[in-house]
Amino acid sequence: MKDFSNLISAIEITNKTNAKIEAIVNYFKVAPDKDKLWLIALFTGKRPSRPVKSNLMKEWCMQITQLPEWLFLESYSSVGDLGETLALLLPNPENEIEKPLHVWIDELINLKSTTDAEKKEYVLKAWNGLRAQERLIFNKLIGGSFRIGVSKKTLVNALSKLSGIAANQLMHSIIGRWTPNTISFDDLLSGEHINYDNSKPYPFCLAYALEKELQDLGSENEWQVEYKWDGIRGQIIKREDEVFIWSRGEELVTQQFPEIVEAVSQLPGSFVIDGEILAIKDSAVLLFNDLQKRLNRKNVTKKLLEEVPVGLYIYDILEQNQIDLRQVSMVQRRNKLEELFTQNTSTILKLSEVIQFKKWDELDDLRNAARSFNSEGLMLKKKSSNYHVGRKKGEWWKWKVDPLTIDAVMIYAQKGSGRRSSKYTDYTFAVQNEDKLVTVAKAYSGLTDKEITEISRWVNKNAIEKFGPVRTVKPELVFEIAFEGIAYSKRHKSGVAVRFPRMKRWRKDKTVKDIDTIESVKALIEAN
């Protein structure tokens, strides 16, 4: 397991994707086939179920180290990861055990059906035979979570570099149906178990942010204007009655959206369409935050399907009955799409609305109104445009609503996870409500690493609590918070909910006396 452990260390330390790919390629060059297969499985969420409860592991560690529980928890909240906390707290190993990755995994799979006493004996023996870094890997194998900053796309790029096979084909292969114990590494890569011809996607056509005056775009009737949506941009492929959904990040996300697969299957013929997957309830588009609950789940449960139903807003058609339409004009593609759509019976598929307008100056109001139904703004597409590869200036523009902003004061700080676990990165903000403060938003993005470091140090000095993960701080640091939308909410104590809040600026020039009041925040709802 040393090679695997070294690979994890190498991947974790760098934030350069190329360095990660290089490390993975190097591992694939030396690892036994079975280990390679398990690595792919682990990194793509095909993990065996957890054989030992984390509470038991915590208990055993406390028995061995003789530490009181509060001190264990304090260590955990400082380290931010249970597997790592255990690995670091345990005494140095007295033996040395070296087994390949797949042997460890097979043993762990068998461990699942044993008694607690047998589990304890096995785990303690392993702990006593592994050094801290390998012990951490062992604990992670039990827990099954390998969130170490390697996306499927990165893994696939590494495999592509190693084998020379196209990345998208490999994506289909690794997402497809296989288990490490029933396929060889070469067969997996060459795609013995899949039909890549059916899943092969096209590169997405992307837009630039609008950088000119509308008047400079030319005549109004040369443009098709649609709403811009904040969901998962997806390419939905139906060929030979098989359906595939590719995300813009070129990951296959088919299994995450069974209702879209079902709805699309009803449409006749074979085709490739471009659209936005959105959380939609009672025909209203929900926030991206809601959609997020549906993402990267191992199982999409019935409950989740009911809680966050999704739908597809269709923008474009790229292929129909094996004919590539990308060089056909936008208007013609739209006609074909509308024609196909006459056959639609599903309520969760919708054509993206084409906004009717005569004069450019009508659009600004429409753009600003977009916020009220959770649209991000407008898309301007030239009617004569092809479906080009990637971004091309002048043909497709995105024109987003300006974010709303308020000034709020930080009242809680919490440590982040992963590479952010050493710093206070997640903050809660409040505005004035008469003589009290009321929470309005939580945000964790928008600041530089340097600012986060400075704030972390300030939190360390100004925290009211001494123990536990959340720190209440003196209401002193003021931030300009930007967000995409705001609405009344009964679930929130403040009575308002903001959409996609982030820190726009740290207002070192302002004090808590300068922050917004809840009344001025609510006034934003009325104004929008």
């Binding site: 530490l67 009181p68 304090e74 931010g80 676990s421």
Partner: protein, 340 residues
């Protein structure tokens, strides 16, 4: 606290009329070691260990009023017997032992119990009251031995050389830099930043031998540096100088690097847990060895460590000080220093 008290300016010895590592200017300051959060500017008179004298003069001013003495060589100030004992933290670091009317208080300053290749090893001192730091006061902190670190650092350099990369270590210019030099001595030529070179001169001037090194200037010749070893202060992470170094592989050397999240935070190629502070077991051993009746816990995990000491039957209190709660504070001090 008998015969000492905690004041706004720092820890004050009442009969002795002097302060220990004060954070505001005072008449008489006894300094545990040369780091900027302990040895501050503006005091009328300084007393420190012999090996810290040149360091303090370099950092604070050549014309300061300063006297120094060796380890275990007491001096009486206003009836208080003052003596220094090795703290094992950096060159010249001392625990300050105060004895008045038979009652003994020891102020640890910063300390490390594990021996390294360059510092006089830590020596426990029996006392009635012990004032201890707690920078790494959590049981997850457990350091490797100096020999293990030596292997780790040297292997990293050799591996970098195989990949045609230059090894760049980032470590605080006083203490850490010299320790790194010693750890990688004889592997290949060592280049150091001027902030480190100046301190090296100060350290050598008091008779301490350091491994050979050359100065890296902003207009260095890339060919000279390629595949060699470079040591820079942490504030130079992301600097133009670092960017100019050909095929640099960067590593931060700090106790904080023991935790993965910290290693990943900086976006460097490696992180080595080389700490000048005691680890959890080191802190506990040190406290127990003093046999102190009362323990005061300063900068770091004072809440956790003092709570734990009380649970294992050692009377302990938290003491809030202005000493750097982490090494990042030191980096800032250093930044202003390099600019001026």
């Amino acid at each position: 606290m008998k015969f000492i008290k905690y004041t706004k300016k720092g820890i004050y010895c009442i009969p002795g009329k002097f302060y220990l590592d004060p954070w505001y200017p005072v008449d008489y300051a006894i300094i545990s070691h040369g780091h900027a959060d302990h040895a501050r500017w503006g005091n009328k008179h300084y007393l420190c260990h012999n090996d810290s004298k040149a360091i303090l003069k370099h950092r604070i001013g050549q014309d300061i009023s300063i006297e120094s003495m060796g380890y275990n060589a007491p001096k009486t100030i206003n009836g208080v017997k003052v003596s220094f004992y090795p703290a094992g933290h950096i060159i010249g670091s001392a625990q300050i032992r105060l004895e008045y009317k038979g009652y003994v208080i020891v102020f640890s300053g910063d300390y490390k119990t594990q021996p390294d290749f360059i510092t006089v090893p830590f020596e426990p001192v029996k006392c009635n009251e012990f004032i201890t730091e707690s920078t790494f006061g959590l049981p997850v902190y457990k350091w490797k031995t100096e020999l293990e670190l030596q292997t780790e650092l040297q292997n990293w350099v050799l591996q970098n050389q195989q990949n045609n990369r230059t090894s760049v270590f980032l470590g605080y210019s006083l203490g850490k830099a010299q320790r790194i030099m010693k750890l990688v001595e004889d592997v290949d030529a060592i280049f150091v930043h001027s902030a480190i070179a100046n301190l090296n001169d100060a350290i050598s001037s008091s008779g301490n031998q350091l491994p050979a090194s050359s100065l890296i200037t902003t207009d260095f010749n890339k060919k000279d540096i390629q595949n060699k070893i470079v040591i820079l202060p942490p504030a130079l992470l992301g600097s133009k100088l670092l960017k100019r170094i050909p095929n640099a592989a960067t590593a931060i050397c700090s106790g904080w690097m023991h935790i993965r999240g910290n290693r990943r935070w900086k976006g460097v190629d490696a992180g080595f847990a080389v700490s000048d502070h005691a680890d959890w077991d080191g802190l506990l051993e040190a406290v127990k060895a003093t046999e102190a009746e009362k323990v005061y816990v300063t900068h770091g995990s004072q809440a956790v460590f003092s709570k734990y000491l009380n649970e294992i039957g050692i009377e302990a209190y938290e003491l809030k000080t202005e000493y750097g709660e982490d090494e990042l504070a030191k980096q800032d001090t250093l930044k202003t220093e390099t600019v001026s």
